[in-house]
């Protein structure tokens, strides 16, 4: 029914005593996520939303037998918080924080190659298996359970596309927001591999945007390895070259790669229909199923 998370996933919330951590821990619990602990340095022994707080992620993981962690830690400390999750160790770390310095992420990226933890994000909305668990800030009410996998570089675009899918009865197995930063943990190819291996996922939606070459690489992977059909959407067709459009990643270098056009062409060449609007993406998924 899902990839990476389900109702058995035992979740730690790093930063549960902060504003965002507190609010979204409550939302996650209300959604039915099995939140078993919080981790905040110096706040060990407290309780938030009925969940015990530990000083360290390691302590929380050990005492509560947790296997995943969601990170709501301010950017200056978030790199360290991700390292702490990787070293706890934890199977799955989801970093919501936006604005982590890129050099901190380069060091995290190096560490990721040495451990078994999977990282999602940073600067992402998280991951949700509708009806079972959500790890992050996604608005649970727009999702519904079904057979479409979704992977996206943009949070709010994820919501938009899911809304269009749910609206016409196309539920989701799992939706993964991989984040828009230049250096991220799980990328499109990683997520597509997971959906390809999942028996319940019968079609996948991939939402990309200008900047980088991740979509082009995903297109190659789809052409070569995927039997599950994929539909796509690329944001930023009207973005002028050389301008940074919000996300650090969303910049077109003007050198021919990384543009919406090159991404759309690469996906089309791999047999992936790309919608001009989110509505058309939902149309494409209907056709694929």
């Amino acid at each position: 029914m899902s990839v990476l998370v389900d109702d058995d996933t035992r979740v730690i919330v790093q930063g549960i005593t902060g504003g965002e951590g507190n609010f979204h821990a409550e939302q996650m619990i209300e959604y039915g996520t099995n939140v078993v602990a919080g981790a905040v340095p110096g706040k060990g022994g407290q309780e938030v939303h009925g969940v015990p707080v530990y000083d360290t992620v390691e302590g929380a993981a050990r005492e509560e037998d947790a296997d995943a962690s969601v990170i709501f830690v301010p950017p200056a400390f978030a790199g360290d918080a991700v390292f702490e999750a990787l070293d706890a160790p934890i199977d799955l770390a989801v970093a919501i924080t936006e604005g982590i310095p890129t050099q901190d992420m380069a060091r995290v990226n190096k560490r990721l190659q040495e451990v078994d933890t999977r990282l999602i994000g940073p600067n992402c909305p998280g991951i949700i298996t509708p009806g079972e668990a959500k790890l992050g800030i996604l608005p649970g009410n727009i999702f519904s359970s079904g057979n479409v996998g979704l992977v996206s570089r943009s949070g709010t675009l994820t919501y938009q596309v899911v809304d269009n899918l749910t609206d016409r009865g196309l539920g989701q197995t799992t939706a993964i927001g991989i984040g828009g930063d230049p250096i991220i943990g799980t990328d499109f190819v990683d997520a597509l591999e997971l959906f390809e291996a999942d028996e319940d996922t019968e079609a996948v939606v991939m939402c990309g945007e200008i900047g980088g070459e991740d979509e082009e690489q995903a297109a190659k992977y789809i052409a070569e390895y995927m039997d599950t059909p994929v539909a796509g959407f690329i944001a930023g067709r009207t973005a002028p070259p050389g301008k940074r459009m919000g996300h650090a990643g969303a910049i077109v270098s003007g050198s021919g790669t990384g543009t919406a056009e090159s991404k759309i062409n690469a996906l089309n060449d791999a047999g992936v229909p790309v919608g001009d609007t989110p509505e058309e993406v939902a149309d494409a998924v209907e056709d694929l199923l």
Binding site: T102, S154, A235, T277
Partner: protein, 381 residues
């Protein structure tokens, strides 16, 4: 954040990278005084953050007071690609026999830093990268260990740098990497790194871009920020408000949350036959005041004929957004431009209850909202 050439040179010089003697000046007399001190010939270089300054007439080589005066008069006060020149760097003209390129940046595909060397310096390096990628030697660096001395030497030998200066160039490259690392650089470049007939290497230009997300731990760099560097009043205002904002040339103002959704809104405006006036991302979790500031931004753009507000709440809450829209619009006796609002996601129902519908047009779907805004803009235009 981009440093001016003179600022980057200061940072490089402090770290031990050789730079030409230079002085900053903001008047003709200042230029003459600086030139007298440094000794002719000198280069007079506009301190604005645009590429191709030389071609645009922003850099002049002068050999006498008379020429210096002429250069100062023509460059100070000129508009260089839309940016007003207030300052020039007066710099010792280096007599060189060779021009090299060295640079450090983040290779996002590899997720690690990369140092670069080329013997094809002094020209547009992006063009070299495209035409002849092999002319640039790339050496990836493990961010946990930093750049080893051998890596700098290896890159320099591979690039075919003259043996007489290879060690010095390797040392410059390693210092540049260290600076990039210490100062949270996005890019650090020297183009050209000049080689003199005495086998000295000198950084004749200096580029340093700093990761904006890391400015909190680079207070000295943050202080160097030149608020007027973009030359666009609206973009400066956006900086003050802390928005991601890009001005475009259409007439449909766009405000949304999240870069991907805002870009999609731009694309849809185009798709329905309109033209986006701007990209404005209010970011995650925006409170009422921020929303009001966003509206102020977009209303400040004379080109805007209608505004579409597209919020899909996750971390952002619809009720906060609605309060911000009300606050911003209730100040006006007459709303300057028609505003279309689309609210979805977290607390959207509460938001619609709060929203003063006498002031805005509400649409339920993204498509309808964009179409409506495009229609309004056409009527206005």
């Amino acid at each position: 954040m981009k440093l001016h050439e003179y600022q980057a040179k200061g940072v490089f010089a402090d770290a031990g990278i050789p730079t030409p003697a230079s002085e900053l000046a903001d008047s003709v007399d200042g230029v003459l005084a600086a030139a007298g001190e440094i000794g002719y010939p000198v280069a007079v270089k506009a301190q604005v953050q645009v590429g191709g300054r030389g071609k645009a007439g922003g850099i002049k080589l002068v050999e006498s007071d008379e020429e210096a005066r002429e250069a100062a008069e023509s460059i100070l006060g000129m508009d260089l690609k839309g940016i007003h020149v207030d300052q020039v760097l007066v710099e010792e003209a280096v007599d060189f026999v060779n021009e090299l390129y060295v640079g450090v940046t983040m290779d996002r595909g590899e997720g690690k830093p990369v140092a670069m060397v080329s013997t094809r310096g002094g020209v547009n390096i992006e063009e070299v990268a495209e035409e002849d990628p092999d002319a640039i030697v790339r050496e990836h660096v493990d961010p946990a260990f930093g750049m080893h001395p051998y890596q700098a030497r290896k890159a320099v030998y591979e690039a075919g740098v003259d043996r007489a200066v290879a060690n010095d160039v390797a040392s410059v490259l390693r210092t540049l990497y260290q600076l990039w690392d210490d100062k949270d650089g996005a890019d650090a470049e020297i183009n050209p790194l000049m080689v003199t007939s005495d086998d000295e290497v000198i950084a004749a230009d200096a580029v340093m871009n700093i990761d904006e997300d890391a400015l909190f731990r680079q207070p000295e760099i943050a202080e160097m920020e030149d608020e007027s560097a973009s030359g666009d009043e609206l973009e400066e205002k956006a900086d003050e408000y802390g928005f991601d904002y890009v001005r475009l040339d259409g007439n449909v103002g766009i405000i949304g949350n999240g870069a991907g959704l805002v870009m999609t809104t731009l694309d849809l405006v185009d798709y329905y036959g309109g033209a986006p006036a701007n990209f404005l991302d209010v970011g995650g979790g925006a409170k009422a005041e921020r929303i009001a500031n966003a509206l102020d931004m977009v209303f400040s753009d004379d080109n805007v004929d209608s505004v579409v507000f597209n919020i899909f709440g996750g971390i952002t809450r619809g009720d906060e957004v609605a309060r911000g829209i009300n606050e911003a619009l209730e100040q006006f006796d007459e709303i300057p431009k028609p505003v279309v609002v689309r609210l979805a996601g977290t607390n959207w129902e509460e938001g619609l209850e709060i929203l003063n519908e006498d002031l805005v047009t509400v649409e339920q779907t993204l498509e309808d909202a964009v179409q409506r805004a495009v229609d309004y803009a056409e009527v206005e235009a």
